[in-house]
Each structure stands twice: as structure tokens, then as C-alpha cells.
Symmetry: D2
Subunit: 289 residues, 4 copies
């Protein structure tokens, strides 16, 4: 759905399911002069958890932006044991792009960035190679080659993290970045590192999934975008898509068809992340919208 | 989503969009002791129309079932110029099945009926042929052959409508019924006649769509389930799906592949209709869930 | 493609790739007065294996049907180290249907059988339960309940195999038959037992795949039809298809959506098997058509 | 399938169906020392037309490349009333890219070009605007702004065609080029102008298809790539794909989702055109591979 509103707030909630949740939240907004633009709600009945995403117009809202969080905590959240985040439509999240040598996801995201499709700032690109430097320079984006070897990983990651801090990075996108991040890095950006894996997870995790897909003789290949957790390729899935293949497709054909899947799936995940559509719970995602 | 609740109410609403709609509805439910199980809401921003589907547990609800409609009208709907329907999860809608000679959608719906997948009563089957009589008899469903010719259409439809009235039919499913219904019939069941058309509408309306699809050389064929209106194949679309074809597919192959599409698409439309997920506005549908 | 020809032969070949294969086969057909109706050819370049399916009209073919195999062996196959099978369009393969209690694939296949969509004979149905007996009786198909326990498996399978032998069964379809076949059974019907598994293999093999899919939070579910081998759910895949799910789908919803996938995927696999479109090599399939 | 062979010939044929076609062609190749790498054949049974694409290794082929066409005409084609084309894998076709202001297909094709995914030369870009000039300059591609108005169309197209001639252009890709080409232009490049239309043709031809799709309430949108003919949006379809939408999708959302479809569908069409997989007959395409 279209959700562009110059001056609106987005509230993401999860908490144990119980009576009166919807009314409590909508009352908070309505009584203070907010007009609800979108409301999505979901109950996981198996686990009895309540999820909500609500967006409202701030035009005539009585509580100043920088106090909404405090007021909501006091008046609503504390009563229901809620976890919540508040975002404002005016804020552009700041994203770092990590890339190695494969250009397709990288080019695709930058074309969307250039054309204004993604409402995001990309102040910095990090790579273990120099291949993508010219593209970054053309767009005026800071490009840092930080080579990673078995021996220097932790200290090089330290440099990466300083860079992210310096650029006030909100989240990281791994656009076919061929390095496995360490636990320290991952823990610093919980649910804020988006990866694209070139298989239909949980099938074919790890290296060379197209080769494995070919070997197994599957009739459909896929791509999966997920938040990175410390267990490899096992983080909460944001988006997946698939493409039909046949015996006529060599590994090379799968790689080619897969590139388009990877581009689309990663871009959708980033779009949903940017629109604050994604809630994570119990290693699964609720993706509203 | 799963929505089986032995004792719940479902409220479907549409009205001009304005402030305070969500709060008004949820307050009505909450203040009277209802627990909201599902809430879906949608605003058509182009037309400024608000849509809502809300389902709540009646276990501890203060208003008796047969008064909810009146109370809601008085306390909420009248203030906001709302159109609304109330349904109860315990009620099984009564469906009439119309069929000609093509058996695939017919068999498929009856298999779902027999296996309990569809929570519906099917007391009567109507056909212009005798082919399906044995199946109906086996299942103990009343079967009526009512032959339609150019000359007797209106009077034969009269018989059909009396039959539907006698069986207290709520809605009609045309499972590849090869007759065009008259205006009088259609007007008697507004948004309550579901048809399956064997093309991706609005492409290829009318007769022989697979032949037309073959002729045009499309690479994808489709099926469309819609509510019947007086304009042929132009009613509000409930569900569509598609299947890839190639130059290798003859018209006969398209017919074969299309059969599976038709079955699935019609069954999904019926399922959504039964679960009260469908709202019609301006010849389009909102399908929640 | 449509391949109904009252009097044609179908030749399936695989052999090491080398020069002159296509010409050798087409010459054999042409020089003896056959008219090629369809020719599909595939080379697995990674393994250097050649595959072919060719169908020709027998109307004016010089070699009598019962000698074609011998002539082809002598004149062509032996020169190129070919594995081949010859089938005739007039022959209806004989299929045994194995089922437990879940009816959807069973009903679906029988509806296709009844309506003439599948050119096959189904002389016998085998089950470890009595639930489906009435359907079998209605269609005049021999129904055998053969209960399987941990203790009697081999001797009960012996009965099943005698039954198959008595009915001259060509291939077996497991329409959600909930028993694991023993090695002796599987070895007796190599590439002639078709199973439907309710996941997108190799993801979620074994029991309760929808529960696992829900747990993992996938955004797409699938179904896989494959030839049964002695390694569970690891046989050559004939067909797969998928359906999108979301956080709104409970396990029960996945089961419901999955039923439609299973029906379609199994039916397509059976259809391709019947049309002699499937060649197995190195635990993968070539599916022509 | 993978078809990269440094030194191979590709022969595309269509002719009235008759006995002996496959053998005649394969014999021509085999007897002259060629090794068949791929052979695809198709018979349109409704129209009794035979289609073939065959690729063979030229390594040990006896006939020199520049005489193959003449020899084939004399020895085979003339006997069977064949239309044929011969291409060589070593030749890189020369493509002109036409664009207006919408960048997504343009960027996508150029990214594929830059990364070597498309084996093509793009010597010239033509636009009625200046927006894309920087991208062209960065890649060293000749960029020509040729403004088109109602009054100057034919003379401006004359300039375009001179440009194409000067650059030895083989085929033209309209990457969301918002002008309708005149008959004279189209006739000069029969089956050599590829367009992307942002709907599932034949639904919603002409202007503003996403608005029409929204209005009609379809549940699936599509994109279609086709060869341009003088009838608007009615040329032979090369590729189509679709994407699911719902009531939640505004026109703007459809435009966004459609962009990804358009990119993928156009790229696949160009890829198939480049690999000589496409044959046109009776305003439909045979797409091998």
C-alpha cells in the first residue's frame, strides 16, 4: 500500500495477547487528536502474541514527537508489557552497503536509490575489493576497501564498525558480500543487517547453493532475504521468491536466473524494512503491508 | 489465517473515511465485553472510503446476537454513514451449485464439501443437463435438471429462483455453468453469485477464451472468479491466478492446464466468500485475510 | 503439448554424448517410413550424457511393433551404448493407487480418471484403512485394506506385491500414503513409484513439514512429486510447485493451501509419467514436453 | 540452457510440416562434419507448420561459414519451401536503446551489459530527452537526443533511422520509450524492435495500464515484451510475467511493483532474442530454450 505521508508516526508493537489491546492503542492516538492512516494487527494464536503496526497523521496530534515514546510507555505500553518502536515518516534511515565482486544486487539497489524509489540515505559503501569503487565515486558515496583475511577479521571488522558509527548507520545491507560476519558485528546490529542468500532457505544453506540445487535436480530455485543472526543462513526470513527451472538449465543458467531473483527479493526486503513493515519475533517475521 | 471460532461475530463495514472510525468500532466491541480476534482495515485513499472486517469472541459479549445489529446501527453506524453486515461463525451459509457438463470444478467443490474443507451446506444442484445427477444422488443432494433454451429462459429461471427460495439459498456458485443469467436473476442475488471465467480477465471475456489466448500467442493463461453482474464477465473480481504456457501448448493443452487453475481459483473465491472476507465497492473487491 | 496419436511409438533414450546420435535415430525412423511427430533432445554438458524422446507415426512404418525394439537395438542402440525404452500410444499403463486417510489427492486423481483426463487403467486401490472403500466401490475399483504395523510390514508388503502382480500393475502412485515402503518393495518398482511430499524438497523432508515450515517462518510453501528411492524423500524430483504464505497463515492454513499444491503437483507428475515424458539419470529427471 | 560455444552455427527454420524434415537437416549437418549441440523442434499441428532451431559445432564442419547459407538453400531449404536464418555464435548483435525519462529498464539493461551478462554491442542510445545522457557518457555510448513532436515525427524518425544505419544496428530495444513509432520505422525493422508494455496483454493496451488495472480491480498485474508491429501493442509476444496485487495496492504501488516486472520481462526477451531462440509466425512466437 502507499504510505507516503509527510508527517506521520509509525508505531510497532508486540506483546502477550490479551483483551483491550487494539482499543488501548487506538484510544491513545484518537484522544490525542491523531488520525489513523493504517492499522495492521496480527495475533499469533499458537504463541498467543499480539503484533500491531499503526500509522497516524501527526498534523493535529497533541503530543510533541520527542515525547510520544515516553507518553506511550507510561499510558499504554507499561500496562500490557509491550515492546514497541516509534518511527517518523520524515526520517530517512541511513544504510551502509556491503559488497564483494558480484555487481547485480549492488547495481540494482543503487539504481533504485538514484531514482528515488528507496527513501534512504546511503553514505557509505564497504567492500573487501576495489571493483565497485568507480560506481560509488560517481554517486559521491564514500567507498572503503577493507580487506578481510582469516587472520585480521576481528580488527578489520572493528574498522568497519567505527566507519558505521561515524556515518550514523541505522542498518546494513549485504548485497552479495561474500564474508561471514563475526558474532561481535552481528550483535551490534540486531535485526539491522539484511542479507540475500541465493537459495530457497532452509534448502541449500551455505556455499554454492546453485550447484547443490542442480545436483539435487530441483524444478524451482529461490532466493531468500533475511536478517543476519549468528547462526549462518538461519536468521528470520523477510522475503523469498522462486523461479522455475528445468533439466535444460545448467548451473550457469541457474546463476543467471537467480541473479534476477536475488535483486528483486533483496530490494523488497529493504523496501519493507525501510517502511517499518517488519517485526521480528521468535526468529520469524511479521511483514505487514 | 485460521478463523475458526465456535462463537464469534464478524462485522463488515464500509463508509466514507473520517477520523475516529477504528476507535468507534473497537470501543463498541470492547466496552461490551467482546475480545477482538481479528481486525483488518483498509482505506482506499483515491476514493476516501474506509473498509473494515473485525471478528470478536461472543463468549462474554453483553449484547445478545439478535440485537447486535440494531445496537451497532444506533450506537455507531448511524453516526458515520456506515454500510455494514453482521455474520456469526456458527451459521453455515447455504449454497446452490449450478453446473453444465464440464465436471472439474464441480467435482473439486464437492470433494472439498465432502471432506469438510468448506463450511457450507449444499442442499441443491441445478443443471441444464443430466450428466452430474449420479454424483448428486450419491451425496444425497437434491438435483434438478432445468433445461434452458432461447425461448424458455425467463420461465425456467423462474423455476430456478423458486427452487433457491425453497432451499433458503444464500449464494450461488456457477461451476462452469454454460448459461448467461438474465438480469432478473442477477438482481435477485447481488454479490451472491460467484462465477469462474476461464481467462485472465479483462483479457478474453466471453466465449472460447483458450482459443483466443492461443490465437494471441500469450505466454501465460489465467482464470478469474468474480461476482456476476449484468455486464458479462465484468463483475467485481474476487480471485485470479495464472499458469505459464508456451508455443508447445495447443488449445487442448491450455484447456487441460486451465482446468486446474479454474478449480483452484473458484475454490479460493468460495472459501473467501464463506469466511466473510470479501467486501465489494465500486465494482472492485476488498479481500481481507 | 498435445500428443494424442492413436498409433504412434515413443522412444526414450539416454547414452554417452557423441557425434551422430540424432541422425542415427531419425534415420532409423525415416528410412523405415515413420513420420516424426515430436522430437526432444537434451545434452547434459556437465556429465556429457545425451537424452532423447522421439515419437513417430506408425501408420506407414515398415517394422512391426513387436520387432521395433529388437531392430533398434541391433541397428542403432548397440553402436552407441544406448539405454532405451519403447512405448506405444495405444497402450494404457496400469496404475495402483495407495492411500491412507487424507482424501484430497485421492479424490483429485480419481476425478481426473473418471473424466478421461488421465489415459490410464486403475484396477486396484490399496490402503491401510477402510475410509476410501466406498469411493472405490462406486467406481468399481478393487479395494484392499492391508493394515501395516511395525511387526507385519514385510509380510503385508508381500501381499501388496502379489496384488500388484495379479493386476499387472505398471506403476504405483502414493496419494498421501502414510507408510514408508521397504527396500524390497521399492527395488521391485524402480522409477515406477510416484510419491507426493508436502514440502519444497530438499527443505523439510520427513514428517510434519508444514509444522517445520511454520516454525522456520518461510514465506513460500511447496510440494514435490518424486520417484521413490530407498533414501527417504530423496528420489528424483519430477515436479514441484509453490504457494506464497505469510505470517497470517497458521499451520492449519498451510495445510489447507498445501492440499491444492499437492493435488496439482502429483497430477502433473502422473500425467508426465503417463506421457512417457520422464527420463531418470543420476537421481535427477529430464522432463520433456 | 547454456549455449555459449565459441564457434558454432545456429539455424532457424520454419516451413510447411512434412515427412523427412528433421532427417534432412540433421543429415546436412552430420554429413558435413558438424556435431549437433542443441536441437529444438516444434510442430504447430493446428496450422501444420514445422519450426526448428539447431546449433552445431563448426570446428570440423566442412562448409565455410560464408557459404553455409547458399549450400543449405540449395541442398535442403529449396526442397521443403523453408524460411531460414543462419547465425554464428561469434557475432555480437548490435543493439540501439531507445529511452524517454523512466530509468528502470534502461538502468537494468545497461547493468547487464556492463557486467557481461548480455552478449551484445550497444553503440548508440536514442532519447527524446536529455535525462539519461550522463549514464550513456559514463559508459562511452553515443547518446542522441532527438525530440519528437506531432509535427516533426517523420523527419525526426528519418534522423533516427540514419543513425541506426550509421551504427549498423541489428535491432532496437524500446526501454519504456514513450513514443509510438511510425509505420515506416516499424517496417524497416521487422521483428527487430522489442518493446516492453506495462500490462498483461491483451489486457490494458495503450496508455496508463496501471490505472486501468486498478480501476478494474484485478488481483494480478503483468508486463509483456513483444516485437513491435504497426498495430499498437498487438505484436508477437516474446515474454510475459505477472505479480500478485491486492486491494491494498494503490496505482502507485502497482507502478512500483510493475517496474520490477518490466525489467525482468524485457531483459528475458532481449536475452532470448540475442540467443536466437525466437521464431515469429502468424503473429505469435516460438521461443526455444
Amino acid at each position: 500500500m502507499s504510505r507516503k505521508h509527510d508527517n506521520s508516526a509509525i508505531l510497532l508493537i508486540h506483546c502477550p495477547d490479551q483483551k483491550g489491546l487494539v482499543i488501548a492503542v487506538t484510544e491513545f492516538i484518537f484522544k490525542n487528536g491523531g488520525n489513523i492512516l493504517h492499522l495492521d494487527q496480527h495475533v499469533d494464536e499458537q504463541q498467543s502474541v499480539f503484533f500491531m503496526r499503526v500509522q497516524w497523521d501527526l498534523e493535529t496530534f497533541a503530543i510533541p514527537n520527542d515525547r510520544i515514546s515516553e507518553y506511550f510507555e507510561t499510558l499504554v505500553a507499561s500496562r500490557f508489557d509491550m515492546h514497541f518502536q516509534i518511527h517518523f515518516s520524515g526520517e530517512k534511515p541511513r544504510m551502509a552497503l556491503f559488497v564483494s565482486k558480484l555487481p547485480h544486487c549492488f547495481y540494482d539497489l543503487l539504481a533504485r536509490y538514484e531514482s528515488g524509489e528507496l527513501e534512504v540515505e546511503i553514505p557509505v559503501i564497504v567492500s573487501n575489493h576495489d571493483d565497485m569503487r568507480p560506481v560509488a565515486e560517481r554517486l559521491g558515496i564514500d567507498y572503503h576497501r577493507i580487506e578481510i583475511t582469516k587472520d585480521n577479521k576481528l580488527e578489520q571488522e572493528q574498522k568497519q564498525m567505527e566507519l558505521l558509527a561515524r556515518h550514523n548507520i541505522d542498518f546494513v545491507v549485504l548485497a552479495r558480500y561474500m564474508q561471514i560476519l563475526s558474532e561481535q558485528f552481528i550483535d551490534a546490529y540486531p535485526q539491522r543487517i539484511i542479507n540475500i542468500h541465493h537459495s530457497f532457505l532452509p534448502a541449500f544453506p551455505g556455499a554454492r547453493p546453485y550447484h547443490s540445487a542442480y545436483q539435487r535436480g530441483v524444478k524451482i530455485i529461490g532466493a531468500t532475504s533475511h536478517y543476519v543472526t549468528t547462526e549462518l543462513d538461519a536468521g528470520p526470513i523477510i522475503e523469498q521468491d522462486v523461479s522455475r527451472v528445468s533439466h535444460e538449465d545448467s548451473v550457469e543458467d541457474m546463476v543467471r536466473k537467480g541473479r534476477d531473483l536475488e535483486k528483486i527479493v533483496l530490494a523488497r526486503a529493504v523496501w519493507n524494512h525501510l517502511h517499518r513493515n517488519v517485526l521480528v519475533y521468535d526468529n520469524r517475521t511479521v511483514v505487514f503491508g
